[in-house]
């Protein structure tokens, strides 16, 4: 192929699959000037990559981002999240190739670009081996369909975790039974040996990371906001992969210390702070002027992002499956939109935000479908909501001019 991106894909694919290549990437990343917690997250993803690409000792299960990560780490499985890796690829400027490959495969253009890009990157051989596939039914139904497609294409077993939309005892009982069946399925198909103590340990690690993440959340109430919203765009990846792994503790400890240091030294990451904002849904994974225009030119500071929210209660290590079931069922994206709206209002108040911005990612029905309800509820409480239609994966689908006008008008309105 003549596409120069293809050369990059080949190179990246080699780097990820070769122990030497991974060491090279690690050395390159270590030398890059970045924030301390980003070094931790880079190391974590490299460790995942090493286990998924280069090593053959543990099974690799492809998953959507809503399967609790504690389950994988507690069962000795290496998870691979195509959605997260599609985001990583976008941050490296590789999304165009994934999207065009998906078009060649026949995926329609109105589908979410996260999943289309993942589908394209899969056939580009950027992704690692797959021993099994799992997906939840809740929040994003495209994820389960795409992952099911992937499993079918590779001839691997697929398990759908059916998560009810209501949060009640029956839903938790039902989801617990699903998790039980999933473990039995993996013991059978992957040959893993279930070790309850190991699973409990994963929950223990998750709880410790959760406590630290809650400390970060508390520190971020500070005014001026210590952190920059655009620096938190990796949060969804962290939140969905790190819990139950020792890196989760390291990450949130480092982030907490960094945040605290920003507050005590009176050196917020963003100097111009005129309006505090609550950011809903995703942010572009690639470098774009959207966030820098908001933050640096207009002085809009993202005081809190929806996807940074620790939504679940402390996990009960004595009853791990029920705890994980509750974590799935209680996700704020799951069930009626009112749950998400009420959480937004609580966080808007907590972080003293004057307005909210919803970034409606292209093709994401679950997030944008009920925006009118969300908007009406926020308006009822006097909170203006700006809806930005964009794409967090494909830069060619992000029209900066119109988006800048909307951001500017919104800030003018709030001042």
């Amino acid at each position: 192929m003549n596409d120069p991106k293809d050369v990059r894909i080949r190179l990246l694919s080699w780097l990820l699959r070769s122990p030497l290549g991974l060491r090279l990437v690690q050395a390159l990343l270590a030398g890059r000037p970045q924030k301390p917690h980003h070094h931790v997250s880079a190391d974590f993803f490299l460790e995942m990559a090493r286990a998924a690409y280069a090593s053959r000792t543990r099974p690799v299960v492809w998953s959507n981002i809503f399967v609790p990560s504690e389950l994988f780490w507690g069962l000795g499985i290496v998870p691979f999240f195509p959605e997260t890796w599609a985001g990583l690829a976008a941050s490296m400027g590789l999304s165009a190739l994934g999207v065009s490959q998906a078009a060649a495969l026949g995926y329609p253009v109105d589908l979410c670009t996260v999943h289309r890009s993942a589908a394209g990157l899969r056939v580009s051989r950027l992704f690692p081996r797959m021993d099994a596939v799992v997906a939840t039914s809740h929040t994003c139904d495209l994820a389960s369909q795409m992952l099911s497609n992937f499993a079918h294409a590779e001839g691997k077993p697929f398990f759908l975790l059916d998560v009810p939309q209501r949060e009640n005892k029956e839903a938790v009982d039902y989801s617990t039974a699903q998790l039980q069946r999933l473990i039995e399925h993996w013991c059978e198909t992957l040959g893993i040996v279930f070790d309850l103590d190991r699973l409990r340990h994963a929950l223990h690690l998750s709880n410790k990371a959760r406590t630290l993440a809650l400390e970060v959340a508390m520190l971020r109430e500070a005014q001026p906001a210590p952190l920059r919203g655009s620096g938190m765009r990796d949060q969804l990846g962290m939140l969905t992969a790190m819990f139950g792994h020792p890196s989760g503790i390291r990450y949130y400890q480092t982030l907490r210390d960094y945040t605290r240091q920003r507050i005590t030294s009176s050196q917020p990451e963003q100097t111009l702070q005129r309006v505090r904002l609550y950011w809903m849904h995703l942010m572009p994974y690639f470098e774009s002027e959207l966030l820098s225009h908001l933050e640096d030119d207009l002085g809009g500071v993202v005081a809190w992002e929806e996807v940074s929210t620790i939504w679940w209660d402390e996990l009960d290590e004595r009853d791990p499956l029920r705890s994980l079931a509750r974590k799935m069922v209680s996700l704020f994206f799951n069930g009626p939109i009112q749950r998400r709206a009420e959480m937004a209002l609580r966080l808007i108040q907590r972080y003293h935000c004057q307005g909210a911005i919803h970034f409606s990612h292209w093709g994401c029905r679950q997030s944008a479908g009920a925006l009118h309800v969300l908007r009406a509820r926020l308006r009822q409480e006097g909170v203006p909501l700006l809806i930005l239609d964009g794409d967090c994966i494909d830069p060619s689908n992000l029209q900066l001019g119109p988006l800048h006008t909307r951001l500017e008008a919104f800030i003018e309105m709030l001042l």
């Binding site: 009118h372 908007r375 308006r379 203006p384 239609d389 029209q399 001019g401 119109p402 006008t405 909307r406 500017e408 008008a409 003018e412 309105m413």
Partner: protein, 258 residues
Amino acid sequence: MYVAGIDIGSTSGEALILEDERIVGWSIVDTGYSSRRAAEEALDLALSHSGIERTQLQRIVATGYGRVAVDFAHQQVTEITCYARGAYFLHPQVQTVIDIGGQDSKVVAVGAGGRPLDFAMNDKCAAGTGRFLEVIARALQLSLPEMGDWALRAKQAAEISSTCTVFAESEVVTLVAEGATREEIVAGICRSIARRVAAMAARVGVEPPVMFAGGVARNCGVVRALEEALGHPLIVPEEPQIVGALGAALVARDGATT
């Protein structure tokens, strides 16, 4: 004290000179290929109509999609803020302002003092904008100013099902072949624009009195169709195209006095 507001849209550019509370001159020019050149031209023309020199201007504010190109302005402000300010100045009771320009349309909820409370914009699709009318006028061999009267003469409106300017043009050709009159087609086009804009306005919430501004407000066919779609009478200013420039001048006046 003299101040100026300049509104550079995709199709036309307007400049307006304000002396305290009084409009002393204004102009409308084609934007053409250069927003900056259009701004200069519009400002010079408005100054000559006002009989004052540029050096007498205390402050200039630019708005519109080409505002960033107006590098000689003291400040750039979005058209959302400027339409709200301009509409409030002309009619302090106004609660909603709808602007349909050459290539975009917007709805702004106006609060106390002309402050924007909420807004919605369409700048991605030419359907529901002046561009849509231009394309159809060309297909029907009509001039833009006469389109409104043709629409009002129609006994019924043709059903335009397409939501895309390009495909609507094809649809018009089909309607002509099927024997629909030009009056019916033009009325159908006006209704199509009105429906799209009314749907966008519903997202913001339409509170009367409603002002209709922008170049398309000169089209009486769209005015009537929009009134029907919204269920409210519309206030159309005498010069609907200069509302944005007026708002920009008002923002300039605020900046000059503070």
